[in-house]
């Protein structure tokens, strides 16, 4: 058995375990042992593609593990479902980035986000119930079934999305509201010259409530499209701003000349996912990377934090580690470089008497433990603040 084959197979199994938590679910317990066993049985044939070799090897592995039976027993498990969901999400994201923009996304999806390729809980349940029932022989088949389901269901049609909005489905409404936020900022600045966050926030809230009420009560022309919805929303924003403008005129606190100048180049079309409507231009959406973190998923939050922590160029890195630089350095040394706490102490303070050493090791162990908690709390605070901005 060559070392390289073993390394490759070890990586595949590690990745499979990372996605589906096989060890926690009890499919196997020792990855290294499984990899060694598989490497002895599955050599790469001459001229065989890397992907084909991987697929063949993993199929052998799952057959040997009687995966069909295992899947039947664990298909409802939270960890198994999380693995399936991650495949669906990754595939949908890929599809979104490589497909032509749909009308639904053009009009009512948040910037750089999608409604047409978004996975609601309802659709996830539909896919697992209809496409991923019994008879699954391995992860290759799970992937294939996910692809089949996505091909049949996505992109979601405009009428499907509107119907769910009319049923007050918050999954879709949340995206519409997010879309309206920078639009409100943009129109408010153009029409009434205001960029005060308090004013635009009030207008945005009013717009969301009025729009929701109108769609639920079917006040828009029938059948309604996403373009009708956004046009109605724009109408509300304009009216609210005119009211605001009247108030400003009376108060005389802002020069009307400057406001009139800004109104001149207002073009509604500019606000439909074009560069002019780019979130970069509006402070509320300035750092919107945080909008895509699923706060319900503890692991997703942790992964994003590790990305910010590990990557010095990450926009949140400095803010995250500020004040904890030295402890973070020790945390890296311990977890990444595998240096023991004793060696970390020796590196910093030289050789110490036994008692001193024990005391210092306990101290930095505690410091590292505390900094992990603090960083997690701080990261959540940072991203929530940006999300709520």
């Amino acid at each position: 058995m060559s070392e390289k084959i073993y390394d490759d197979i070890l990586e595949w199994l590690t990745k499979e375990d990372e996605r589906f938590s096989w060890r926690k679910l009890g499919l196997f317990s020792d990855i290294a042992h499984e990899a060694a066993d598989l490497a002895a049985r599955s050599l790469r044939e001459k001229g065989e593609e890397y992907s084909s070799w991987k697929q063949r090897t993993l199929n052998t592995f799952y057959t040997g593990k009687e995966f069909k039976k295992f899947y039947k027993e664990h298909k409802e498990d939270k960890l198994m479902r999380r693995g399936v969901k991650s495949i669906l999400m990754a595939r949908l994201e890929h599809l979104f980035h490589h497909s032509e923009q749909t009308d639904t996304d053009k009009y009512i999806a948040p910037e750089r986000d999608t409604i047409s390729y978004s996975l609601s809980d309802e659709n996830f349940r539909l896919i697992t119930d209809e496409y991923l029932q019994n008879g699954i022989s391995g992860t290759t088949e799970i992937t294939a079934q996910c692809s089949l389901a996505i091909g049949n269901i996505f992109p979601l049609s405009d009428s499907y999305v509107v119907e769910h909005l009319e049923r007050n489905d918050n999954f879709y409404w949340e995206k519409v509201y997010t879309r309206l936020r920078p639009m409100t900022d943009g129109f408010s600045y153009q029409i009434s010259g205001t960029n005060a966050q308090d004013n635009t926030y009030d207008i945005w809230c009013d717009t969301c409530l009025t729009l929701n009420n109108a769609v639920l009560n079917k006040k828009l022309q029938q059948p309604t499209t996403s373009k009708d919805i956004i046009s109605y929303a724009v109408g509300i924003i304009k009216n609210k701003n005119r009211e605001l403008l009247k108030g400003i005129r009376k108060g005389g606190s802002i020069s009307l000349d400057s406001v009139a100048y800004k109104v001149e180049f207002t073009q509604e079309e500019n606000f439909f996912n074009t560069e002019d409507a780019s979130p970069k231009k509006f402070s509320s959406q300035n750092k919107n990377i945080t909008n895509y973190i699923d706060f319900r998923d503890e692991e997703a939050v942790r992964h994003h934090m590790v990305l910010a922590l590990y990557n010095e160029n990450h926009p949140l890195h400095q803010e995250l580690v500020q004040g904890y630089e030295e402890t973070v350095k020790m945390l890296f040394e311990h977890y990444i470089d595998g240096i023991s706490y004793d060696d970390i102490i020796i590196k910093r303070m030289g050789s110490l008497p036994e008692k001193e050493m024990i005391k210092n090791v306990a101290r930095i162990r505690q410091e590292v433990k505390r900094v992990k908690e603090k960083l997690t709390k701080r990261f959540i605070k940072i991203i929530k603040a940006r999300k709520d901005e």
């Binding site: 390394d7 990586e11 992907s51 693995g83 990754a90 992860t139 503890e298 990305l307 992990k372 997690t376």
Partner: protein, 154 residues
């Protein structure tokens, strides 16, 4: 994929955000590239190191504090203690002096305690005579550490 993986791809690979096909491309790359393989290892190590915070088993003391049995026992002790305190604070019923019915119980409002004897009376007397020498204390020169602060040498 001739160049090295960027950190964002590494992050997406480890956090399951790549499609299985993209994953295979990354694996094919790291099969040949030791540097990227090492980056992925580092990222994983850090991620699982941070993750142990949530999965770390709580200390036995915390487990005891959190256990239902402990809470029930603590509640019982508190309830018993409070009941005992209430019972003891209630004065003994006094018979009516000179009354016809000496068995009648008076209400607590009419209770007058007996003459008050301060517990520190003896100490006060000693304080008043600072030169008094207590000859019974034969071990006054010997220092006996308080057991609370005494830490035996290992």
């Amino acid at each position: 994929m001739s160049k090295h993986l960027d950190k964002y791809t590494t992050f997406r690979y480890v956090s399951n955000q790549l499609t299985p096909e993209q994953e295979t491309l990354v694996q094919e790359h790291i099969s040949e590239c030791a540097k990227c393989r090492e980056e992925i290892r580092k990222y994983r190590a850090l991620s699982s190191g941070i993750g142990t915070e949530q999965s770390e088993s709580p200390s036995i003391i915390k487990l005891i504090y959190k256990s239902t049995l402990f809470r029930v026992a603590a509640s019982l002790i508190i309830v018993t203690g409070v009941t005992f305190a209430i019972m003891n604070s209630r004065p003994e019923p006094l018979p009516i002096q000179g009354g016809h019915d000496s068995g009648t119980i008076l209400s607590t409002d009419t209770y007058q305690p007996d003459t008050y004897q301060p517990a520190t009376q003896q100490a006060d007397t000693t304080m008043a005579n600072p030169h008094t020498v207590d000859t019974t204390d034969t071990e006054s020169d010997t220092f006996t550490p308080s057991p609370i602060y005494y830490t035996p040498e290992k």
